[in-house]
């Protein structure tokens, strides 16, 4: 008798299927992938100043856009689309098959990771060509960048799946999720220089991962001299790593324990 395929094997198959489904929704492909570029174009044209010697606002903004792209593409997209899948009975059907929940989650993680890589490539391309964004040259910065993207993407995926239990219906999901993300972006220093925000806002933002992702990305894209202007007068790379791990664990815990396959 043949064996049931492994959870990882099925997860990869699901990832391929998720990507194929995503790629066929043309409008959402274009919007998802180009949204950070559009924002960079708008903010880069409005704010032409330098915010520190040798640091343009565009340079500062690229760091914020990659970080918030991770939140938009992962957390926001999943917390909205999973309740929609649940509404039309797709999740209940999956639950009735031998495919384990972990394969479904792995499939989502693959979709988000691939989407993020394309989004970042586009942002780099447009940033280099039109907005004078400079790429880091040291290897250590690229190492930081790589684990930030991977860990951030995993964290965002896990929290998006976990949060999908909150909206009652797919129709209302966007109204619940989008304001949270937008407020978090303002509080976390994506659109404004973080240290210029009121202290209470900074402290509130410091609870959530977006602030740390954004700060981590600044450590990659801004000169090390800028670290002195951060709240802690340093990039706090170690703390960023730990906080992202903490949120990843929280996300996985609630995804595994509380995931809802059915409307009622």
């Amino acid at each position: 008798m043949n064996k049931i395929p492994s959870a990882l094997n099925l997860g990869i198959r699901r990832g391929r299927l998720e990507i194929r489904q995503f790629a066929r929704q043309r409008e959402s492909v274009v919007f998802t992938l180009l949204f950070p570029v559009i924002l960079l174009a708008i903010f880069g044209s409005v704010f032409k100043d330098t915010i520190a010697p040798g640091v343009t606002f565009s340079q500062y903004f690229v760091a914020g856009m990659i970080a918030s792209g991770l939140v938009n593409t992962g957390f926001q997209a999943l917390a909205i689309t999973i309740p929609m899948e649940r509404d039309v009975g797709g999740l209940k059907r999956l639950r009735g098959t031998p495919m384990p929940a972990s394969s479904y989650f792995i499939g989502k993680a693959i979709l988000i990771a691939v989407t993020m890589i394309i989004q970042i490539a586009l942002l780099f391309g447009f940033g280099l060509l039109f907005f004078g964004v400079e790429m880091p040259t040291e290897l250590s910065k690229w190492i930081t960048f790589t684990w930030l993207v991977l860990l951030g993407s995993a964290c965002s995926t896990a929290l998006g799946i976990a949060f999908s239990i909150v909206p009652k219906s797919g129709r209302g999901a966007s109204a619940v999720v989008s304001p949270i993300v937008i407020i978090l972006q303002f509080f976390s220093g994506v659109f404004f220089v973080f240290t210029q925000l009121p202290t209470w806002m900074q402290q509130l933002a410091a609870i959530f991962p977006l602030k740390w992702l954004t700060q981590g990305m600044r450590s990659v894209f801004l000169p090390d001299s800028f670290a002195a202007q951060e709240v802690a007068k340093s990039w706090e790379t170690g703390r960023t790593f730990l906080i992202l791990i903490f949120w990843l664990v929280i996300g996985i815990f609630f995804s595994v324990r509380k995931f809802k396959w059915d409307r009622d």
Binding site: L10, R13, L17, G89, R95, P98
Partner: protein, 286 residues
Amino acid sequence: MNVIEVKGLKKSYGQVHAVRGVDLSIPAGEIFALLGPNGAGKTTTVEILEGFRSRDAGQISILGFDPQTLGHAARQWRDRIGIVLQSAADAGDLTVVETVEHFRGYYSKPRNTDEVIAAVGLEGKTGALIRNLSGGQRRRLDVALGIIGSPELLFLDEPTTGFDPEARRAFWALIEQLRGDGTTILLTTHYLDEAEALADRVAVINNGLIVEVSTPAELGGRATSKALVSWRDGSQVKSEESDNPTSVVTRLTTQFGGEIPELSVTRPSLEDIYLKMIGGVHEQDS
């Protein structure tokens, strides 16, 4: 050992007692139909058996396992079961063949993709996007996904809703084919002709209780119930209930000296019996 064995199943939602003590025994290879009006406890019962809902009381064995305490055996158990739910409208951006092929990958001993697509009559639609399928075609895809894993036990919830008569006949033929393979099938349906055509036995559930379990021919004393003979006498339509309709016809033949105008001899249909059963036990409206 029976494929499905249920004893004293109970489930309440707050003050509503949806299932109040259901017993079922379904042997391997049987097609068993569960009939009942909306709100009778049909869906709750089936969803508990499918492992989608918990129960308040009772014992359940499905293929030798209790769906509530599967633990690590869950995947092995689901590998042997197929479920066709009432409605699913997901994956609109995939084609028929992509979807069936993907689900095929979930199982240890799946059927052939092309054969399953042909069996549900979608061979002309393999490359069509699911969102472009008609309601009936979509339903047939649901069935394809339910049987792709060659299940030992298949749950079919209102499988032919939205089918035209021809598609229903084709679907019945498919079920007969699955019967030939030895698949045990638990069917819930609103269509009594469907239950009559397919089921070896039927159970009528009402107010959370099984009213009767029987073959479709014998349900509610149908086999032994009186026949109704009716005919036209002048301007009047006359009728007579009888245990011996042949003798009534013989008498009438003599009376009319040959052909009896508008003669018909009918026994109660399964639908007549069913309506009488669920009407007769409606103590409370849910």
